[in-house]
């Protein structure tokens, strides 16, 4: 029992870290000398590292908001998990935690989809960076974790 609890907790922490890194790291699109992400678009020329804020367009602001929200909701679900662990009745299910975790996974999915569809094309050798891949990886992990919380029952 304790083992399951520990495993679930570790999974949750891994998801939180993945989401955090994906939101912050400056590598959603990399290509040659230029790498862009949600917040900055940086150019590494001979002179140095020139960064400018990402465009003012609506879609990138929506992606920013969704990624930040997913990190927040994952954090909230961790806090509620800790709370519910001590206050839940025996045999109860962690519904509250599961709801927040599933919402977090939905937000990551929406953000990643919007970014995929609206990404500015036309850049030669522009590939997806590791932060983008992390976002996609954390979506199913988060969903699975939420479903585990629905199924998990508190035993003494």
């Amino acid at each position: 029992m304790l083992l399951i609890l520990l495993a679930v907790l570790i999974l949750h922490l891994i998801i939180l870290v993945l989401l955090f890194v994906s939101t912050i790291a400056n590598a959603w699109t990399v290509g040659g000398t230029k790498n862009t992400d949600l917040w900055y678009s940086c150019l590494t020329t001979k002179g140095g590292y020139h960064c400018s804020s990402a465009s003012n367009e609506d879609w990138i602001q929506a992606v920013q908001a969704l990624m930040v929200l997913s990190v927040l909701f994952c954090l909230f679900s961790l806090v509620f998990f800790m709370c519910q662990l001590f206050t839940l009745v025996k045999g109860g299910r962690f519904f509250f935690t599961a709801v927040f975790q599933i919402l977090a996974s939905l937000f990551v999915m929406c953000g990643a989809i919007i970014y995929t569809v609206m990404r500015p094309d036309g850049e030669e050798d522009a590939a997806f960076g590791f932060a983008y891949i992390l976002a996609w990886v954390s979506f199913p992990l988060c969903l699975v974790s939420g479903l585990i919380y629905i199924v998990l029952r508190k035993r003494e």
Binding site: S53, N56, E57, D58, Q61, Q64, A65, V68, L69, L72
Partner: protein, 216 residues
């Protein structure tokens, strides 16, 4: 002891005048405007001295991509002098109040060629050491939404909704527990959450007894 006191007073006297001799100028950082509209570029300063009668404001303009700046406005000796030869002739107006340390100018009927950097330099004698401050003017056909506004509003809306749901949930629980919110029980005995409800109690009447003569 005395030497320490003397040293301290010298240092203090050395610091304070230096502090009071720097003027700090404030303008915006960036201004967005639509083509054809008017914009007010504000400039004010902070100085430890009283506003003197010889206060001067001067604005200069450097177009985007150009290397040199030209002077477009100067206020001195109590009178403003606006541009009458340069790119802003008849379009610049002084709307500031030097007595209140405000040296703002109004640009009318903007065009795409007005994109550039405006620098305001103010002097308040004897406070003349200071750094000029620049504001960048961007002229758009359609003003884009500022960075972060949509982000902030989405995050704020979702968190606000969450908070609202939590508050309503606890409010409902509180009201039901206090029996204020009474889902009343109707006469037909439909199940409700309230306690007694507003049932009408009929006064108890003994059941009718019919007297039957005892047949023997």
């Amino acid at each position: 002891m005395l030497t320490i006191l003397a040293l301290a007073s010298v240092i203090l006297l050395g610091i304070v005048p230096q502090q009071s001799e720097a003027i700090v100028i404030y303008t915006g950082w960036e201004r967005h405007a639509l083509v054809g509209s008017d914009i007010r570029l504000s400039c004010s300063f902070f100085s430890w001295r009283w506003t003197s009668d010889d206060v001067t404001f001067s604005w200069s303009y450097r177009p985007d991509g150009a290397r040199d700046a030209i002077s477009v406005f100067h206020y001195t000796g109590g009178a403003p002098y606006v541009d009458n030869k340069g790119p802003f002739r008849d379009r610049l107006e002084f709307v500031g109040n030097p007595g209140r340390r405000d040296g703002s100018i109004l640009l009318k009927n903007l065009d795409y060629g007005d994109n550039g950097t405006f620098t305001c330099d103010a002097k308040n004698p004897p406070d003349i050491v200071g750094r000029a401050s620049s504001v960048r003017l961007l002229v758009f056909e359609k003003v884009p939404i500022q960075a972060g506004v949509i982000t902030g509003s989405i995050i704020g809306a979702v968190l606000g909704l969450l908070l609202l749901i939590v508050v309503i949930y606890y409010l409902m629980r509180f009201l039901v527990a206090r029996r204020v919110f009474n889902l009343s029980v109707s006469k037909h005995g439909k199940k409700g959450k309230g306690k007694e409800g507003s049932q009408q109690r009929q006064p108890w009447r003994p059941p009718p007894v019919t007297c039957l003569p005892l047949t023997s």
